[in-house]
Symmetry: none
Subunit: 241 residues, 2 copies
């Protein structure tokens, strides 16, 4: 992953130092390190930011401050404005996944703009962007705070980036069917010995049922062995310790 | 979208009321409304929760309190433990997208477990689950708080649920966890009677292993009943026909 397609996070006129710190933490959780601040209300550095960053100090230390959005995004080729759809602007509105795909496909710098906590981005600032990115949210309760909006977009970006590793993993491969057959055969024999299959006309249907029940388990070789041990214990005499 | 595949969010021994409130807010942003609390440290209701929920009061008002994880998930067929991989448990580890796909494909209730803020879930609690769900995160700075973990999983769920159609159906729905608990309890009792758990220092690990083996089966209510009959037959006297 090159630094080029790590998007820059641009906070426009952020109000609370605490929220800047929380944003740094959200960014670093997903490997984003470059924060830019446009005219932070309470100046910079802000003593409230560090404690809220929970250890993401490097992001705060490297943060750069700009007077205007234009200056902050001057070196960026693709700019996304995180906001809801604007009736006053005709421009593309995309979701977090599309944004992540576009950033990953680009070899140039990208930036994502986030507005002030209460008021959001000005129309003129949104108009500087290539697209609006909107998180699809519950229309009856849309209450994302700054750090949450950042973490959702950073998360989508990291999924597309090389940083993210495929997590889905079979804990253990399934046992070969032969081993499963051994288990089912053992069970059939033991049940036979107990007189479980009765009446004879139902025996085959019951055996088929046992087969499907134990075939669907997805057990590994280790687990098949464990279950075979359990069956032996169940039919055996009590061991006194 | 039916209520059936809205996952239940289970907070296990949550510590700060503020975090319970933030979690409610995170949930409702993505349309999740059912919160369950297992032994909240400071009791329930908690006066710190409301202000932090920023208007998601309905989630808090409807929250239900349980003494144990088992009781909280008794009516859920699929349970996901939000945690990092556990070396002491061999079970599937999936990412948020896979979890969302599985929940969307199921017609039965699902639950996602989140541990206490500092310590996380106990091994025995993770072992109650069908899979571990892990957010792929920056290995050098893994600092997700409770509400952030919830919002990321809720977000992934909402993406899938918007797409998912109520057509995908399992041949037979999974048994609720309460029924699986009954089976596992029966097996533990019978194995105990046979002196299977030895030495005592290994007993808990062996029981956890049995739990994961039988939890992963995906058995339906009918199949759980059949297996319970098989266990009874194995330990009982041979019936002469």
């Amino acid at each position: 992953m090159s630094a080029a397609n790590k998007p820059v996070i641009v906070l426009v006129r952020p109000q609370l130092g605490q929220n800047i710190g929380k944003t740094a933490r959200a960014m670093l959780n997903f490997g984003l390190t470059e924060m830019r601040l446009v005219a932070p209300r309470d100046g910079w550095p802000n003593p409230d930011a560090g404690p809220a960053a929970s250890g993401a100090d490097i992001v705060l230390e490297q943060a750069r401050v700009f007077d205007t959005v234009q200056e902050a995004i001057a070196d960026c080729s693709s700019v996304y404005a995180s906001t809801v759809r604007r009736r006053d602007l005709i421009m593309p509105v995309i979701g977090p996944e599309d944004m992540a795909n576009q950033i990953a496909a680009s070899s140039k710098r990208s930036a994502i703009l986030f507005g002030p906590e209460r008021s959001g981005l000005e129309t003129e600032e949104v108009a500087l962007s290539n697209a609006i990115v909107t998180v699809p949210i519950n229309p009856e309760f849309a209450s994302l705070n700054l750090a949450q909006a950042v973490i959702l977009l950073a998360y989508e970006w990291s999924k597309r980036s090389a940083l993210s590793q495929p997590t889905a993993k079979e804990a253990e491969p399934r046992a070969p069917h032969g081993e499963l057959d051994g288990l089912i055969g053992q069970l059939d024999d033991e049940l036979e010995a107990k007189g479980y299959f009765h009446p004879p006309s139902r025996t085959q249907a019951t055996k088929n049922n046992i087969r499907t029940i134990f075939t669907k388990t997805g057990w590994s070789s280790r687990e098949v062995k464990a279950v075979r041990g359990i069956i032996r214990a169940l039919v055996g005499p009590a061991r006194l310790r």
